[in-house]
Amino acid sequence: MTETATQQLALHQRHQALDARFVPFAGYQMPLRYGSILDEHRAVRTGVGLFDVSHMGEVEFTGAKAGEVLNELITNDLSKLVDGQALYTVMCNPEGGIIDDLIVYRLGDDHFLACVNAANRPKDAAHMQQSVAGRCQVVDRSDQYVQLAIQGPSAVALMERIAGPSVSSIGYYHCRFGQIAGARVLISRTGYTGEDGFELYYPVEAAEPVYDLVWENGRDLDLRMCGLAARDMLRLEARMLLYGNDMDDRTTPLEAGLGWVVKFDKPAFIGREALLAQKESGPLRRLRGFILETPGVLRPHYPVYLGDRQIGETTSGGPSPTLGKSIALGYVESACAKEKRVEIEIRSSRHLCTMTTQPFYKRSGGDS
């Protein structure tokens, strides 16, 4: 992707004013960091951080059959959702491979919004259109939305100031519309950091007024702008997967530890047969977390060893400021998935790691 092919976010000038470093990602010039990534990480864990994640895609499904048709595309069960509820799910190909992971919002009986990964937008849209085959309306609204994430223990306090005290009653994985700076904003209690927080979807025409109101109201809460680098570190600590790293078209949700979003008892969905067969035979590899027990830093694509044999490879990795150790995610052969201690090779020397199925970080008293 060349620099000229990248698009600027609607809030580009606001990011520039804060001295953001940009990185081309999924066709956009995205803020990577504003200053110290560690400071941004700390703000989200102890106070509140603001992310511009407008690169994410929003696809709208409308029509009498919208819910039924969308439910065929995803592995989780949409039929149990009520208005104002959100659902984390994956969308699979017929072989059970993950096309994307997404959040689906039920906005009404015949109105759903899917939030998809930026890099997968064209692929997702093509797959959706083809599978839906005109049975409901599917419109890619990505360019019409700004998406901000407000994350951290002080996120509720900040949101109450700008959207009224009732926002604290929005439950985890629920949403509702509110007025912020005169704009109609979808306020969702979701996030990708392991902290309590909100994601706001609103029309691009109101990009600056809404952002400015959030920013002004966050001053005395030490609100900090955070970039993709901090977001990646936060989600990794919370053991949230990143599409393209920890899963792709050849990874099934069963391998990725996402069996909880695959509902075999719901009506037929794409990938069901393949996933059912894999469930019965057992996946050959499984996602695991790794904690490096020696000094150093784990990165993606480092080989994982049990004894002298390579049993897998990391897919994400980096320092964890919360643990004070390095952490990673990766896949290992199922036969070795119960091991507690493995070795990971960093630049040709092997280092002891604890292997875990648990998140590296879990906030106290939370649902997520």
Binding site: I37, L38, A229, P295, G296, V297, G318, P319, S326
Partner: protein, 127 residues
């Protein structure tokens, strides 16, 4: 971007301070620390070990990435900055002073002539 006049530089963004006793102190430049971001882990050469000009002699890990550390001159490592093992952030905060990395006793002091002046380095990073 600070580029102190009195230091010598490499194209790989290390600086070298000639201590006028046959040894040089080595670190990474302000430009390098800024590009790497928060430094979280370091592998430095061992005291007593040999380093060779232009060859990797250590690794600098930041939050997002890692980078090799190259020796600006050849020789024997006589000291490493132990303070960095506990506080890698010194490199970000003070790349030319408290963030120094190691001292090497030169095996061939003529190599100094091949390093970049502050002016040349400034021009390099301005590109």
């Amino acid at each position: 971007m600070k580029v102190p006049e009195e230091l010598l530089y490499t194209k790989d963004h290390e600086w070298a301070r000639n201590r006028d006793d046959g040894s040089v102190m080595v670190g990474i430049t302000d430009y390098a620390q800024d590009a790497l971001g928060d430094i979280t882990y370091l592998e430095l050469p061992e005291v007593g070990g040999q380093v060779t000009r232009g060859e990797a002699c250590g690794v600098i890990e930041s939050v997002k990435t890692f980078s090799d550390l190259y020796a600006p001159v050849s020789g024997t490592v006589v000291e490493v900055n132990e303070a960095l093992r506990q506080q890698e952030s010194l490199i970000n905060e003070s790349p030319y002073e408290e963030g120094w990395m190691f001292i090497v006793r030169m095996s061939d002091p003529s190599e100094l002539a091949d390093l970049l002046s502050a002016q040349d380095y400034q021009a390099l990073v301005a590109e």
